[in-house]
Symmetry: C2
Subunit: 394 residues, 2 copies
């Protein structure tokens, strides 16, 4: 397999894009990534795009062809990949494999979701398609409900508190306030979260990622020619994916995501690294409890200690460059909570943020001496998990 | 890139499966492919699945994880790929790339669609998602309508007649009658087609592929270890994909599919073969005109002569083994027309049929001395085309 690098990145602002359609978002993100890689469209050999539910959200399937068309990239092959909220990272993984295989050299990978064109009631139903339709959603479960079960179990087993959960949202809003692409750029307090409306006990509105429109894109190339396009290639050291049961009731534990553990183990093996080597990570915080489980399952904190670490600020930006001090900056972009969660775009946005961090271009939220980064993207309630590890390629 | 072989194949009967759900179909096809490859589930390293519109047809996205779960394959990664009616072949292509890259050895690739759980009106709308929602479907176009425009243009430019179109359906029903997996196993006459109800002039009911439930699966392995699993590995010599504008009105010609031409050219180059080397082909006949365009665009007949060749029987089984006599057996499975068209499954079913032909296991429809086969799968009205070329690997 050839080594693979990210040679360009770009994204739209995440938020409610009433003035832009699905295709406008893709074009904006894709054009920025191509510009960042100093590439013309005719130098692209193939593409992948992650989107979860375009069929139900905007009545459009066949997204690969749509994008090839509207980005003026015909006749190159562009393929849509779907794995619920992990669709973006799955697309990145296919792009990685394609470049590694040698079948394509320059590959653009995008993620997109246009979520605000349908009503809030409908969106719940659409997102429900990420879980087990027959055994969970049809019987009345919602996504906040599923994660609330996990939160309750985590609280029971490890003494995690609602304050600890809230501290994740507070930290992510603090980071989001430093990210001009974030949906929410305002800081909040623990009280903002605790006093917000309950969605599914113990999760309140401010424990939940919002509904968001947005797109993000990266351009991949074999590492050995990456320097032709950029002074700052970012090498993808590892790409790993794992599955778990789609319904919660079949899992052996509700207080961890086994797919995250397995994908992380495979990724660390592939990269020949350990959790201690990671300087900065974007993890999947669709709900605050999800970030707490993620930082444990990824090996940054011992199982059960993620909530306490969050409350103590060990995942904040102040832990930048502090290897060995027991902390690691998590979700510098603001995470799904504050940066927003346009489902299919999230995995690619994570890669974009890590690339910016490793290139030293993360502005007010820059992690000092960031050399190695990790992204972690989850599909549904944990039936798919994808982990990528990146390193400065210069 | 490593050489890749098909080491096992399986499919469900295509038809109206009132007694089976989406997951039952996948399991049946997958289990048959695994059995055919003499494999246990724990020997599988990864999977891909093609399905077009499960979100709208059965309310379920996140199909990769669902299948990993219900086939008992957790925690291996399974990824859904979507490209409208070409979803199956796109999944096959990703599986091919994954094995070729070296990241995975044994990969199962499935295709599935459960279409009969919603009404006929709804199905038209769902299938419309394969075209340009904003510029075609929203304005009232349907898929038969789009292909009717292509048929009219082909008739005008080349003198193709309604009888020629009908002859495609007659031949495909004749083949389907010899395939126990086909939805329609009855022969028809030219008159059956000509006298059937008009759907979109000049296309009648019998010019159109039906609505179908079904699934198909293949197992891939590196060619150099394929013999461990099967005495009859089928090598995939080429996998190529191309895109065209999603809407018809932007195309330079309505009487051909440019994406087919480009994908075919790339596939022949990759395989170092020409159309004359192909012994048997499965092509995308969602409508009879589509088969006529396909056999021209793939280079089996000169442009404009596909209709005449069909009427003269040059695509029938009797042309088996007759290299150099100007004919080639097309759609021995019965094609989309008679075998049925469960959208995401079709591309994989084509690979299954070609594997059976090259293994000499196609029973009453066996093509004599078939050594090299081709499959051709189209997404929507031609915005995606995928061509695979296969050869006996033993």
């Amino acid at each position: 397999m050839r080594k693979v690098a990210i040679i360009g990145v770009g994204m739209t602002k995440f938020g409610e894009h009433w003035e832009s359609g699905f295709r406008d978002l893709v074009i904006e993100a894709g054009a920025r990534a191509l510009e960042d890689a100093n590439l013309h469209g005719d130098e692209i050999h193939a593409g992948y795009v992650g989107t979860m539910a375009s069929g139900r959200l905007v009545g459009q399937e066949h997204i690969g062809a749509l994008i090839a068309d509207y980005m003026g990239l015909n006749p190159i092959p562009i393929t849509r990949v779907e794995g619920a909220c992990a669709s973006g990272s799955l697309a990145l993984r296919q792009g990685f494999i394609a470049v590694a295989s040698g079948i394509h050299d320059i590959v653009v990978v995008g993620g997109v979701e246009k979520m605000t064109d349908i009503s809030g009631d409908e969106i719940s139903d659409v997102l429900g398609g990420a879980g087990d339709q027959e055994w969970e959603l049809f019987l009345g479960a919602t996504f906040p409900g599923l994660y609330a079960l996990m939160a309750k179990r985590h609280m029971m087993e490890y003494g995690t508190t609602e304050e600890m959960l809230a501290s994740v949202a507070v930290k992510n809003h603090k980071n989001g306030a430093k990210n001009k692409y974030a949906q929410y750029q305002n800081e909040i307090t623990i009280n903002t979260v605790l006093k917000s409306k309950v969605v599914a006990d113990p999760l309140k509105v401010f424990d939940c990622a919002p509904v968001t429109d947005g797109a993000a894109a990266v351009v991949l190339a074999p590492l050995d020619i990456a320097k032709k396009y950029t002074q700052k290639p970012i090498e993808i050291l590892a790409s790993a994916q794992a599955s778990d049961t789609i319904a919660l009731h079949s899992r052996e534990s509700l207080s961890k995501l086994k797919a995250t553990e397995i994908a992380a183990r495979k990724a660390y093996e592939m990269a020949r690294l350990t959790p201690k080597d990671i300087d900065v990570a974007e993890v999947h915080d669709c709900f605050t409890i999800a970030e707490i489980m993620a930082i444990e399952d990824l090996g940054f904190f011992r199982k059960g200690e993620g909530g306490k670490a969050s409350l103590e600020g060990k995942t904040g930006l102040e832990y930048a460059g502090g290897k060995g001090n027991g902390g690691i900056p998590i979700n510098t972009s603001g995470g799904l909570k504050a940066c927003g969660h346009p489902v299919g775009a999230t995995g690619i946005k994570q890669a974009v943020e890590i690339a910016w961090q490793l290139r030293g271009e993360a502005e007010g939220r820059q992690v000092k001496d960031a050399n190695i980064g990790l992204s972690h993207n989850v599909g549904g309630s944990g039936a798919t998990a994808v982990v990528h590890i990146y390193k400065k390629g210069y």
